[in-house]
Amino acid sequence: MLILGIETATEQVGVAIGGHEGVIATFEVRRGRRHAEVLTPAIEFVCRQADIELGELGCIAVDVGPGLFTGMRVGLAAGKALAQALRLPMIGISSLDLLAFPCRHTDRVVVPVIDARKDEVFWSMYRQVPGGVQQVSPPAVGPPDELIGDLLARSQDVLCVGDGADRYRDQIVEGYRCEIGQPTHPPVGALVQLAHARALREEWVRPDQIEPVYLRPPDAQINWAVREARP
């Protein structure tokens, strides 16, 4: 089965196609943060260069974050639109999983750190298991100091990856002695690989069941007391 992967949770726009034979084609652009302008032409380009018709696809995989709201809504909207039009199931995968997956051969704790803006980062922790990585702490959001506190509390040999680790490199290394490594952005090839493993087990959902992971404060009704004054 062929899977189209769409990754827009950071400043990068990534598109990939893969299947039984592994990743067939990838496209990644890390400059400009022009998700809306780049994504659809990128999908068309990747399909054309890989000589794959949209009708041959069996599943659409998307990076559901956490990450940039402005990027994710473009990727999720495009992915859902394609899945609905082509009547395909979808698979959503965490941006943190995608960052940790390429580091599956290290015996250190892998800590993907994504820049959340507003002087905050998203992070989680992963440990090597046979065949991949496993999340050992739930995703969190907070200032880099909170991440450092978390690292100090666990006091393990750590590899930090992601654009948040890159941006706050000095602060993190000063607070907790660890290596800052690659990848910086969630690799879209990993999205297709991880989605394929799930697709084999038919662990997919309908397009309307795909939701972004925002990890922001809980929802509340807006206090519109002043609104009554308006017509």
């Binding site: 940039l68 402005t70 803006r117 507003k118 922001r216 004054a229």
Partner: protein, 190 residues
């Protein structure tokens, strides 16, 4: 906190232009005040000072309007009035728009509270509480003569234009500019 008094629309535009001159990419500016208090008029003066050539209209139906400016930044003009839940505000990702070479004006942004992070709040109120904003045809045309965008009463002032403007910085983003802001607006202080 800075308390100003303006006598007419031109004064409001002058105040908003003075703030625009000190604004920089990354800023979020909350516009608070009742309907007809002049939030959109403020935004128009602000945009003009940044070199926005398109007419600025209230973004009630699209939630956010974005305008290129003559500087290397984009002016985003948001209106939260139509939203019901705080996650709806979060999903607009106004701080992301600011973080990427943007300045964000948020009408009715005071309901978002701390969720917006560091910001400048500009609260406009009628200086005279007795003044009733009459939304008759004459008032709708307003002194500004702005296009009808479904929110005409905020395009211009529907009355004599006397306003109190309260400016309050939340967080540290404006601490380095606060003195300059006070000096620039000295002539309008109460």
């Amino acid at each position: 906190m800075l308390l100003l008094r303006v006598d007419n629309l031109a004064d409001t535009h002058a105040v908003s232009a003075a703030i625009a001159q000190l604004a920089r990419p990354g800023d979020v500016i909350v516009l608070a005040g009742e309907m007809g208090a002049g939030k959109t008029a403020f935004a128009q003066g602000f945009g003009r000072a940044l070199g926005v050539s398109e007419p600025i209209t209230s973004p009630t139906f699209t939630l956010v309007h974005s305008y290129p400016t003559s500087r290397k930044l984009t002016l985003h003009h948001a209106d939260l009035y139509r939203l019901d839940r705080t996650t709806d505000i979060a999903e607009l990702a106004l701080h992301e728009l600011a973080a990427f070479d943007g300045i964000v004006l948020v009408e009715w942004g005071d309901v978002a509270g701390a969720g917006l992070g560091d910001h400048l709040e500009v609260r406009l109120t009628h200086a005279d509480d007795d003044v009733d904003v009459e939304l008759n045809d004459e008032a709708l045309d307003g002194p500004d003569g702005g296009p009808d965008d479904g929110h005409p009463e905020t395009d211009g002032f529907a009355d004599n234009g006397v306003r109190e403007i309260e400016i309050h910085a939340s967080g540290g983003a404006w601490s380095g500019r606060w003195d300059r802001l006070c000096r620039a607006l000295e002539g309008y202080r109460c």
